[in-house]
């Protein structure tokens, strides 16, 4: 145990995901040794991210305004909607350059072990977007693991009666994986070869 501020910083850092007590200590002493201007910049970025970044009112992607950049873009197609678990998945799919429609970010996947059901996800909001009738294809791009597959099946069961074409990314993505970690080529190919559910 250290005294005061340095221990406070270690405690805060070790609450972050993927950071154990040892890395927290290393980071804290790095901060202590670093240039004051560098740390001021880091600290300002941390504050700004909470003050300025919001969630898009339409798709729940991260945004700096009421609507995100993609929802504001008039050149994107309104008839195709791609459902993902997290904002980082939007970034991964954008990198492939295969998709020119809109997104919907669920905020996770159905996961009873962690107490996550449909009510904890942005599913009601998705349904109300779909009821406007503009969407003709719904692409389910949840992760290719147990929870992502269950979420996709759940959405397909709800949406198909609405007469919307429902597709799922083609296999070829590493099973048991995270969309985020698929390389552009694999993910792009999975997008191209998506199959109807």
């Amino acid at each position: 145990m250290y005294e005061g501020a340095i221990q406070d910083l270690i405690d805060e850092l070790s609450r972050l995901p993927g950071i154990g007590p040892k890395s927290a200590q290393r980071l804290a002493f790095h901060v202590l040794a670093a240039d004051t201007t560098d740390i001021k910049r880091l600290s300002a970025a941390l504050t700004r991210v909470k003050e300025e970044v919001r969630f898009c009112v339409l798709c729940f992607n991260v945004a700096e305004e009421e609507k995100c950049r993609i929802c504001r873009d008039p050149r994107r197609r309104d008839d195709a909607l791609c459902v993902v678990e997290e904002p980082k998945d939007v970034v991964a799919i954008e990198r492939t350059g295969e998709f020119r429609g809109r997104y919907h970010v669920l905020g996770g996947a159905i996961n009873p072990l962690e107490g996550v059901g449909p009510d904890q996800l942005r599913i009601r909001e998705l349904m109300s977007r779909l009821s406007s009738g503009e969407t003709s294809e719904l692409i389910l791009a949840t992760d290719p693991n147990t929870e992502g597959e269950a979420t996709a099946t759940y959405l397909a069961l709800m949406v198909k009666p609405m007469g919307i074409t429902v597709t799922r990314l083609a296999s070829g993505l590493p099973v048991g994986g995270d969309l985020e970690y698929a390389d552009e080529i694999t993910l792009g190919r999975a997008f191209e070869g998506r199959r109807k559910l």
Partner: protein, 365 residues
């Protein structure tokens, strides 16, 4: 296939040990408790990612150490492959094959095919259905490694479905509310899908292994009785969804999944009588041994000849059965035998000899 070298760092009683093996029979000799089983258990772990003795990983790491490493060089078709597993209790294992780290430790399965027979295997015939399901699934994975994934997928879906049922059960019992079961249909579908794949494979496997079992029991027991194995399913592959629907009310009342291959069993019989509850101690032992020998001869007849491990087996057998067992396995590509008394092992199996003492293994010249 054979194991050319085994290296352990902070595994069980070994701080660091390296043993060089040869093809053919090897005998590991030492008093009780010196660490013989610890060696072969480590090999079993590389083959199945589980110990045949304990269900958690913590006891495998030497007490006082925070992680342990098993490394082994496996020779197959004249090519050598290095498999390495780092066990860190409470965390995901790290695995390597050759030079490349694996994304998932599960991908190491298949590198070493191994059949291990140990005194604990008496529970195959006397223990819970779980032991017999594991026997089948381990053999399935040794035969077709891709089923390690099917099994893991099934188990994950089962866990999620049970969690959903339990939360609905608790909502009703504790809060008097109706739980949210809106995703149950989805979990049913996925459980039935993965379950059917697993079950079909198990059924086909039982058909393939049954004649090998009958044959092995004949040989081990010198023709005393016919060993029969049958799969007892809670539902056939195409009926799992229906079976789930049939027990739904009870599942919700009890908060757990009541149909599917995780509830199945293997029925073992000698002639017309069930082994459990009827067979003598000697017959039960012969039956368990015959089950492992059947795994071994099935794998050997199909593709890659596995490594055979006989842990502390000969002391339990009378002279006749010792000799018959030796005849069955003496030309195996590799058989590793552990014993306290070397004289218990028939001459035809006394290949290379190793003396095991606490923390050390020495080749006897």
């Amino acid at each position: 296939m054979y194991v050319r070298r085994l290296e352990l760092t902070d595994i069980r009683s070994y701080a660091g040990v390296a043993v060089d093996f040869e093809a053919g029979p090897s005998v590991l000799i030492g008093h009780n408790g010196v660490g013989k089983t610890n060696l072969v258990e480590a090999l079993g772990y590389v083959a199945t990612l589980a110990s045949h003795r304990v269900s958690s990983d913590a006891p495998l790491v030497r007490s006082g150490a925070s992680s342990g490493v098993i490394r082994c060089a496996i020779v197959h078709d004249g090519r050598e492959l290095l498999a390495e597993l780092e066990i860190v209790p409470g965390k995901a294992n790290r695995a390597r094959l050759g030079r490349s780290p694996l994304r998932r430790s599960r991908d190491v399965i298949g590198a070493l095919r191994l059949v291990l027979f140990a005194p604990e295997d008496l529970s195959l015939v006397r223990g819970d259905p779980e032991q017999r399901r594991r026997y089948l699934d381990d053999l399935l994975v040794a035969r077709q490694p891709r089923f390690a994934g099917v099994r893991a997928d099934y188990e994950r879906v089962l866990k999620q479905r049970n969690a959903l049922l339990r939360s609905a059960y608790l909502a009703r019992k504790v809060a008097g509310r109706k739980g949210d079961l809106s995703t149950l249909e989805v979990w049913d579908q996925h459980l039935a899908e993965h379950g059917a794949t697993l079950l079909q494979a198990r059924l086909a496997l039982v058909d393939s292994v049954a004649p090998h079992l009958e044959d092995a029991y004949q040989k081990v027991s010198a023709g005393q009785g016919k060993a029969v194995v049958e799969y007892k399913a809670t539902a056939m592959p195409e009926n799992i969804l229906q079976a789930l629907a049939d027990v739904r009310d009870e599942e919700i009342a009890r908060g757990t999944t009541l149909a599917g291959p995780h509830r199945d069993d293997l029925v073992l019989r000698l002639g017309d009588l069930p082994v459990k509850g009827y067979a003598s101690h000697g017959e039960s032992w012969s039956f368990a041994l015959a089950m492992r020998l059947a795994s071994y001869t099935l794998l050997r007849s199909e593709a890659i000849e596995p490594v055979l491990v006989l842990d502390d087996v000969f002391a339990e057998l009378d002279t006749g059965r010792r000799e018959r067992l030796a005849d069955l396995v003496k030309d195996a590509s590799q058989v590793l035998i552990t014993c306290a008394v070397e004289a218990d092992v028939p001459i035809s199996l006394r290949g290379a000899r190793y003396l095991v003492s606490p923390g050390e293994v020495a080749l006897v010249q």
